[in-house]
Amino acid sequence: MMIIFAIIQAFLVILVAPFLIGWVRLCKARLQGRHGASPLLPYYTFLTLMKKEIVFSTNASWVFRTVPFVVLGTTVFAAAVLPLLTLEGISPLSHFVLISGILALGSVFLVLGGLDSGSAFGGMGASREMTIAALVEPAFFVTLAGFGLGSGTAMVSLMIGNGVVGWVVHPGLALSLAALVLVSLAENARYPVDNPATHLELTMVHEAMILEYSGPYLALLELASWTKLTVFVLLIGSFLLPSTYLLAGVDYTLVGLGMAVGALVVKLIVLGGALALLETSIAKMRFFRMQEYLAYAFVLGVAGLIITLIV
């Protein structure tokens, strides 16, 4: 049952991921006074890319070809085991150290893909992404550790699935939640860490690594980054307001599943709008000030952790 549930959740998250990114772009466009593209555009982009030819660098080795699969695979893994739909799903694989390890594996392969083409931009993006990934790791750890301490477990699914809203019971976790938001922005290469819409190679982080990918490989990598964003948005949503809390008593019935999916879509729309608002209101940070940003995230996480530990 749990395996089926995990598979359903993974498919659902992958399916809504392009919508989320389209929705964020639409909201941003509206906030900028533009008409904006349809939120369904990423689906078309994905389909178009899947039909196209692949051009790969003459320097590229087999590593280049495995990258899209591993990057998307790790994201799918995270989407399957994390408590995103939060019906009473309790996945034993959602140990928070394991999750951060799996996500790091994805970043590592993305970085290797950036290096493999042998272009200057790829290496630059790879170096920056790896720096951020290496420094985000402890911040992510302390953030999830804070939630774990609040609920007395190491499983992310139990942190959420135990029927209480963590930050209401332990107010210190509000800080951890803020840290999680900062970590999510860094992990997903959003403002103020990276500009997802940039065309300037010298300011790129995530884009620079996938400059060499084309066709279906690019489609998979784009889908991976969209899915990752969705996973993080839903994770924040789950910590903010677990669906189990809303849907107490509804079990694995179809009605319960339907309600959970409904809650998921509502969360996506609200948090996607909030992300667009955030990205419109703030400017991108200089890359060499990134250590300050990551230090904020880390200190917030540690503060939440220690307050929860003491209180």
Binding site: R30, G33, R34, H35, G36, T48, E207, S214
Partner: protein, 177 residues
């Protein structure tokens, strides 16, 4: 406080994008485009999402200014599913501007070759279409056609953003029909 003011302006401020009907012609005005282009766009999932790589083949920068304008809030090229990308590897279309100079001929050629097929080539501006006033100069190769195959030509020196959009959308529309 300033942030709240900003948000107020963002939420309730005017939307400046021009309505499509204001600058797009009626369907009856659509010209016929080439058979090859039609099948190309069809194969790109009906052309609902096309990504553009712009290449400067030695233009006066006039065309570039118009291309930049396409991205602004007034024209907002995004809503038609068109977007500029940073690498030819991501592109479905290559937009070339200017008479291709001898120094940039390689750049134009490699950009086209680096883009995955199918790839639509659009010549933007008189220089790109025919060579313009630089035609037959020793420093230019001439029209983009002399370097790579061209699917859509948009004349004008420089063409206005409306004209550029009209040319491209016309091609897309006729292919979709």
């Amino acid at each position: 406080m300033y942030l709240l003011k900003l948000w107020g302006r963002l939420f309730f401020g005017p939307r400046v994008t021009q309505e499509t009907k204001d600058f797009l012609p009626k369907d009856s005005e659509l010209e016929q485009v080439g058979h090859e282009l039609k099948s190309t766009i069809k194969s790109l999932y009906g052309g609902r999402s096309l990504r553009i790589r712009a290449v400067d083949g030695g233009s006066t920068n006039g065309e570039e200014i118009e291309l930049t304008a396409l991205n602004n809030a007034y024209y907002d090229i995004d809503r038609f599913g068109l977007s500029f990308v940073a690498s030819p590897r991501h592109a479905d279309m290559v937009w070339v501007t200017g008479p291709v100079t001898r120094n940039l001929a390689r750049a134009v050629k490699t950009t086209y070759e680096a883009a995955p097929q199918p790839c639509i080539v659009v010549a933007v501006g008189d220089g790109a279409c025919t060579g313009g006033i630089w035609k037959d100069s020793y420093a230019v190769v001439g029209a983009v056609e002399n370097v790579i195959q061209v699917h859509i030509k948009i004349p004008g020196d420089p063409p206005t953003p409306t004209e550029i959009l009209r040319g491209v959308l016309r091609a897309l529309k006729s292919a979709q029909r």
